[in-house]
Symmetry: C2
Subunit: 150 residues, 2 copies
DNA sequence: ATATTTGCAAAGAGTTTGCATCATA
DNA sequence: TATGATGCAAACTCTTTGCAAATAT
């Protein structure tokens, strides 16, 4: 759960983004943003949708999809595809750049996700940019470990 | 396109794997394996399926899915989820461990994939293993760069 | 006022499943 | 010959789309 100051700050960022892109400041977009920043780890669209409903805020799932895509473009969420079929999201602003160690059970299901940060990734990024002449926007690094069920 | 010796070798690996797992040595499994090793880069299920049909080998798409999953468990292919909806595969044996720089166009579509290899990843892996006590099986690292359409 | 955003339901894409048939061991 | 594998089509799941109604600017 993000601190209230953080929530205020990301709301301001969204406001600026919407203004710049000439998009509308709708209550749905802000309620979804708040809800995203109340999440602690990774979540999928359906989970977020159900929590919004549980909190008495009726939005359609299509709007949740649209808004998450918008927040992605605004740089306020991160999107992960570590399991096929379902995309996972997490809040991005001020959580720092980090990578993921994904612990699977013996059936290949995600059991736990550990976050870590290693400066060597940044060094690799810079070298790659120098080598290719391209500007690298971001990266995803996933290590996979298998842990027996017990 | 893999050399004939490589193809022979992976067929032997598959044979051993099937024997060990008490699974059947079907022509479909071997034809799909061959076709996979004739692919040069990343491919999706539908592309592989169409190429098999174009080569006069009739298999159902379900079998292609099943077999790719089997080859994944046998360590003979690698699976990637860099775009939502569609899984991509690539041959794995003897191609060396490498990572991916994904170049997107301004609409976010995959334009080009550049492979690279950096020993620092291996160093991070070893440190993580030491730190967590887990055995890390593999990893996926994707850097993303955006290139204008033209 | 007007054009974007929403909600709903239906369509779409990729993947998985169920069941009868086939074929490997 | 007995069980695992295949083929086909239908089912499933997640996501996107189309259109009418609502609403922000």
């Amino acid at each position: 759960m993000a601190k209230p100051e953080i929530i205020e700050m990301v709301k301001q960022i969204l406001t600026k983004y919407l203004r710049k892109q000439k998009l509308r400041k709708t209550p749905e977009r802000f309620r979804i943003l708040e809800r995203v920043y109340e999440e602690d780890g990774h979540f999928d669209v359906d989970t977020l949708y159900k929590k919004l409903k549980a909190n008495g805020f009726m939005v359609s799932k299509a709007t949740v999809y649209n808004t998450l895509e918008l927040l992605l473009h605004a740089g306020l969420v991160r999107k992960h595809l570590f399991s096929p079929q379902t995309a996972f999201y997490e809040k991005k602003f001020f959580t720092g750049s980090h990578d993921h160690l994904i612990i699977l059970d013996d059936e290949g299901q995600v059991k736990k996700i550990v976050e870590f940060c290693d400066p060597r990734i940044e060094a690799i990024r810079k070298d790659l940019e120098k080598h290719t002449g391209l500007s690298i926007e971001n990266h995803d690094l996933y290590f996979y470990a298998i842990d027996q069920k017990r």
